[in-house]
Symmetry: C2
Subunit: 219 residues, 2 copies
């Protein structure tokens, strides 16, 4: 029952509710590059990450992406269970960024628990209000922070997540994270290179002046 540790509301459930979860909870290992949730898939339910890294993003009609949140070990997400929330009218895709392991509680069981347990209902509310805070922050970034600052912040975040100062990432992929075009990213990276902040080679971006990038990002 290792999963109990990853379910924040576990101790507030009755023994009978805990048993129902134990009976249907699923454990999955997924590999980098796959999707665990997309607009065509059935509703996955509540996801609890054991290890790895997942990325939730929205997709425009013409295929552009923007990252809305990332999930790491011990994170829990309702974005994969939009069917549970009556007024959630949007589709979020969830992509596996690093090989990951996660548990999921099926949507129908989670919905029942929300209707039975005030603790579960309030927990769902706190997840949603956390997501809203992320969305508000992202909107402020997009509206009011210039692209050079956002790109600098993104490179520093990647450097920390990957624990390397030489990133293996395409300009296309960066553009997808930031909701902009590849050309815009390439242009800005060239500018960063001319300022000595990064060094580009085929397929990699090396961060050569972390301090300057931090200053630019406003850290």
């Amino acid at each position: 029952m290792e999963f109990a540790e990853y379910i924040p509301f576990w101790d507030k459930l009755t023994a009978e509710q805990q048993q129902r979860i134990a009976g249907v909870i699923e454990f999955r290992k997924v590999t980098k590059g796959s999707h665990i949730h997309d607009s065509s898939a059935e509703c996955l339910g509540l996801v609890m990450v054991r290890t790895g890294q997942l990325r939730a993003y929205i997709l425009s009609e013409d295929g552009r992406e923007i990252t809305i949140s990332r999930l790491f070990s011990y994170d829990v997400s309702l974005l994969s269970a939009s069917c549970v929330m009556p007024d959630m009218q949007f589709n979020v895709m969830i992509e596996v960024e690093k090989d990951s392991e996660f548990w999921s509680i099926p949507a129908c069981l989670f919905k029942n628990l929300m209707e039975e347990s005030v603790a579960v209902a309030n927990y769902a509310g706190s997840l949603l209000s956390g997501n809203m805070s992320e969305l508000m922050w992202l909107m402020e970034q997009i509206m009011w922070k210039s692209l050079d600052k956002r790109l600098a912040a993104f490179l520093l975040e990647e450097m920390r997540l990957e624990e390397t100062d030489t990133l293996r990432i395409t300009h296309e992929r960066i553009a997808n994270h930031m909701g902009t075009a590849r050309e815009v990213v390439t242009r800005m990276l060239r500018y960063f290179q001319s300022e000595g902040m990064v060094q580009m080679t085929r397929g990699t971006i090396a961060i050569t002046d972390e301090k300057a990038l931090s200053t630019l990002a406003g850290e």
Copy 2:
């Protein structure tokens, strides 16, 4: 007890809970241009609109605004009760756009009800998921829809809200709604005028070709 009709979860409360609400619910009349909630004010609680029109927006450090939602008769909002939600870390301002009347349930009582009643907790969740859908939609608009389409849609929405084809609104105010600069709005309106879609005079914008604006807005 007219207010009961404006509280969607009223019938799911116990008589005792209903009495507590009746004991502390506040009714207020507010005039156009005032604010009922801002980052400095105490937490207002759950707001239920009887009549009028309110606007919820976020504000950048340098004073730029963007409208995130509008409230009309029978609308209920938790945005004025962010203190109730533990993970809601953002500040929303609520401005009165037309003379309005509303009830409010104080934050501390609403918080207690959420902890006692699964119906209230789930109702709060559905409000939040509705807000999230609005935010996602807005983000998609900002990221992926060009400003001409957004401005056309805004003018048509205003025309319907005000029930007139001659809008009394400044370019500054439109810019605040859309999160852009006044100059950008003025430039686009001049273009619309040159295409015969609007006619500008001092202080007004008359919509002269609703059909063309609708087509542009993608309606």
